[in-house]
């Protein structure tokens, strides 16, 4: 977001990125939703696909591939990717836990949930566990105020959280060990 400037990661050390065939087909169907010559409109939906195909974050290589698909200048992609808070410009854990911390959640105890997660995982918000399993993040209102406190992991909402529910969720995640992304169906 404007107020929090995120640096675009350098190319060094990042692995190459290429869309899968299925993803390219989905990109084409998304582009078809907009008038010809207006394919730039597809940028955000396609960045989501690239992020999901790149372990939950957008490397420079992934963003460059998006630019190529849409025929855009690289900077047009970077400036958008760095604006929206759901695009991660740094690697994230297999499970990216985004706890809502805005006032309606705070009133219903989100700070205690963040504290509990922090203690259980041994990390602070913004950090990833050493095994790369969990990233903890505090985020702003996710539109689930009636079932607060809550967190989002990929496309899933975990609502009406208690420390016990959080423990059960973490155990289930450790057992499954499968990345959850926003574009999961």
């Amino acid at each position: 977001m404007g107020a929090t400037i995120k640096a675009v990661t350098t190319r060094e050390g990042t692995k190459p990125f290429a869309f899968s065939e299925a993803a390219l087909a989905e990109c084409r169907s998304i582009i078809a939703r907009y008038p010809a010559e207006r394919s730039k409109s597809a940028l955000i939906p396609i960045l989501h696909i690239a992020q999901s195909e790149n372990d939950g974050w957008l490397s420079v290589n992934a963003m460059d591939a998006v630019a190529q698909v849409l025929g855009l200048k690289h900077i047009e992609v970077y400036e958008v990717a760095s604006f929206y808070s759901m695009f991660n410009l740094h690697p994230v854990g297999t499970y990216h836990l985004e706890v809502c911390q805005t006032s309606p959640c705070m009133i219903r105890g989100s700070e205690k949930i963040v504290g509990h997660l922090s203690k259980k995982l041994g990390i602070q918000p913004g950090e990833t566990t050493k095994d790369g399993m969990f990233t903890l993040k505090t985020v702003e209102c996710l539109g689930s105020c009636g079932s607060a406190p809550m967190l989002q992991c990929g496309a899933k909402y975990y609502e009406d959280l208690t420390p016990e529910k959080v423990d059960a969720m973490l155990d289930a995640m450790r057992a499954e060990n499968k990345r959850q992304t926003y574009t999961d169906r």
Partner: protein
């Protein structure tokens, strides 16, 4: 029980799918409009209904529609604002998740009224799973001939598409939404020109909230006059209120505009009262509207019963009133700290400022820092006046209303709860514990400043 227009069938089995939706009278408004009405007649019904924008601003929808420019040969668009990001608001999510075809139907009928070539539903990125539900509903509607070419043999063509966002409160502002829909950063545009003249792709565009578009369905089905019979004065029809905070029954409620605030907060049909402790404060319409003490929510400063209407909730102006806003209602019990909540709000607006205008970009950051300092027991008395000064310099000095939205919660918290801010400065050791008021509720040492 109040009348339900949008949620009448929401608990019916299979209502999520086209078949179940049709079985409960779905898509009647499309049939009626396309077969028996002219586009102008639909706009006229919406005008008669008195429907006002349900996203927060409350602008009359019929009037907004009549501003749409119609230059020959230029395609027009209708865009649904499903970016619902106002803290405390989750009504649109509930509607789209439970009864997605209602929104699809509303888009077709509204698109017909406006002569739109196509429509887009811009949904916030976090609601990805709801986006999938709507994608399915749209596919079903295409397959059944409710969308596409020559709908119902009427000659009206209409395409409807989903568009996903990626996490930005600012994209709920209509011009920022259009920028985002064009694949850019969500920086609001300078108005005029308004979207009705130059909107999406510089074409005439109407942007309406999910609930507004859904309300077009009962308005066309039953007639604008019938809709306008519900409510009080210029607040007609029903409104979805998402209720949260320290209440017994959080959830989304469809209310008839005009019920009393007391009934909404305390009756078992709605919020069911405050959980455990005493009512302290209320944010009636999403985090941007002024926070008011509980007693001012229930009764106006003049002692009149406050109603859930646009007018009654803003009775007394910002001195003693608030706003209906988006219907994002949340209540605080006396264990809550207003300073902590205000700091939380300020952090939200700082995070969500797009950074275009200096007063908002810089001011929201300063407000967050000052409130953090006061809340954590490092504040000075001058900080309270400085906060007041900063919010004054933001309000009205920015391209879009995010600046105002950031200023109002801070201004209202100081206006009504200044003694609580002073307490934080006077007793820094007591407020070090984040739960300071949970153990010992704050007792007012001063009379409320509105008196």
């Amino acid at each position: 029980m109040g009348r339900k227009l949008l949620f009448e069938h929401i608990t019916k089995p299979g209502i999520q799918g086209l078949e179940g939706y049709r079985a409960n009278g779905g898509y009647r408004s499309v049939e009626k409009a396309l077969k028996t009405m002219s586009p102008e007649a639909v706009v006229e019904e919406v005008k008669k209904s008195g429907l006002r924008g349900r996203g927060g601003a409350g602008f009359p929808t019929g009037m907004k529609w009549s501003f749409l420019a119609k230059p020959p040969g230029v395609p027009r668009h209708i865009v649904c604002n499903a970016d619902e990001s106002e803290p405390g608001t989750f009504k649109d999510r509930y509607l789209m998740e439970r009864i997605p075809h209602l929104l699809v139907e509303g888009m077709i009928t509204s698109g017909f009224a406006l002569g739109a070539e196509s429509g887009y539903i811009y949904i916030r990125g976090e609601y990805f799973y709801v986006h999938r539900i709507l994608e399915r509903a749209i596919a079903e509607a295409y397959a059944a001939g409710w969308l596409g070419k020559n709908i119902l043999g009427s000659g009206f063509d209409f395409d409807l598409h989903m568009h996903i966002g990626a996490g930005a409160y600012i994209c709920g502002e209509e011009t920022a939404l259009l920028e985002s829909l064009e694949g850019k950063r969500g920086n609001p545009r300078i108005k005029p020109p308004f979207p009705a003249v130059k909107g999406l792709y510089d074409r005439p565009t109407v942007v309406n909230n999910v609930e507004t578009i859904a309300a077009v369905v009962p308005i066309v089905n039953d007639g604008g006059e019938e809709y306008a019979k519900i409510g009080v004065g210029k607040s007609t029809g029903t409104k979805l209120i998402s209720a949260g905070g320290n209440i017994k029954r959080p959830g989304v409620y469809e209310i008839e505009l005009g019920i009393t605030c007391d009934e909404f907060l305390n009756s078992d049909e709605y919020c069911g009262g405050i959980e455990g402790r005493a009512l302290k404060a209320v944010v009636p319409g999403g985090s941007s509207v002024p926070i008011i003490p509980g007693e001012l929510f229930l009764k106006t400063a003049a002692g009149e019963t406050r109603l859930m209407t646009y007018e009654s909730l803003s009775d007394g102006g910002f001195a003693t009133g608030s706003m209906l806003g988006s219907g994002g209602f949340y209540a605080y019990n006396d264990a809550q700290c207003i300073v902590r909540s205000t700091w939380n709000h300020a952090r939200f607006y700082h995070h969500e400022s797009c950074g275009q205008c200096s007063p908002c970009r810089e001011g929201t950051g300063w407000m967050e820092k000052l409130l953090h300092r006061i809340e954590n027991g490092h504040g000075h008395m001058e900080d309270i006046d400085l906060l007041w000064d900063i919010q004054r310099r933001i309000e009205g000095n920015t391209i879009c209303p995010l600046g105002d939205a950031a200023a109002w919660p801070v201004a209202s918290a100081i206006r009504h709860f200044r003694d609580e801010f002073e307490y934080h400065v006077k007793y820094p050791t007591k407020v070090k514990d984040p739960d300071h008021f949970a153990k010992e509720p704050f007792k007012r040492e001063l009379k409320a400043s509105y008196a």
